[in-house]
């Protein structure tokens, strides 16, 4: 079990109901994609927030990553919708 800081933004944050939390991840969670699937087992709020997995963007230690990226060694994982700044 690895401990990781999760941060959420925009409607991902609103639907999950919090902006950040620290979770213990089971060893079966290897990639960002695995994390999304794992979170969806934790409750209805996660299911709603992460329903359309393919639109969820992931950042590891504040850098964009692909859903296939391995989590090993990452301190902070962010989940958020497509960006709409500018």
């Amino acid at each position: 079990m690895a401990s990781v800081d999760l941060v959420y933004f925009a409607w991902v944050r609103e639907r999950i109901g919090r902006g950040e939390e620290t979770l213990e991840l089971p060893d079966s969670v290897v990639t960002a994609g695995d994390l999304l699937k794992h979170l969806k087992t934790l409750g209805e709020e996660y299911e709603t927030a992460l329903e359309h997995e393919n639109v969820i963007r992931v950042a590891f230690n504040q850098e964009h990553v692909d859903h296939r990226e391995p989590i090993a060694g990452v301190r902070e994982i962010a989940l958020f919708p497509p960006m709409t700044g500018g």
Partner: protein, 156 residues
């Protein structure tokens, strides 16, 4: 050159266009072209009361810096500035400022255009709309057109 060619800020307050242009070009005699892009909040025909800009502190600054550095390398810019506001922004107010400086005009235009395209699709900011009638608005959806605009820089 003495100053860093990249200036990035993420701030709640408005910015001063003239001061930012002066910061890039003052005392220099090798800059031939300065392009600025200001993005403003539109009232959408009177229906929008305000935008609320959420951002990912730290990563917003880091991502804007990466984008400016890439533009400087790709277009041989002499300097690039990106300032993005967060918090509540009323119609008519500034949201974002990008400035590029170069010896040549097309590089300055292309650099600013490039930075804006990547800023919109890669910098961690999100807009929520509040109605002019006080209604709680929804999150702005990302546009396919913004992805297309970004992708043209990787063609050919």
């Amino acid at each position: 050159m003495a100053d860093s060619p990249v200036r990035v800020r993420v701030q709640r307050d408005d910015f001063d266009l003239a001061a930012e242009v002066a910061a890039i070009s003052a005392g220099r005699r090798d800059i031939g072209a300065v392009v600025t892009f200001s993005g403003l909040c539109r009232d959408e025909g009177g229906t929008l009361g305000a935008l609320e800009l959420e951002h990912y502190p730290g990563m917003a600054q880091a991502e804007l810096t990466r984008i400016c550095q890439e533009a400087i390398a790709r277009f041989s810019l002499q300097a690039a500035t990106a300032i993005h506001r967060y918090g509540k922004i009323a119609p008519g107010e500034n949201i974002v400022l990008v400035i590029t400086a170069s010896s040549h005009r097309q590089a300055a235009f292309d650099g600013a255009n490039f930075i804006m395209d990547f800023l919109k699709t890669a910098a961690p900011f999100w807009k929520k709309e509040h109605g002019a009638d006080g209604s709680a608005g929804g999150w702005v959806s990302a546009k396919d057109a913004d992805d297309s605009a970004r992708d043209r820089w990787t063609k050919s």
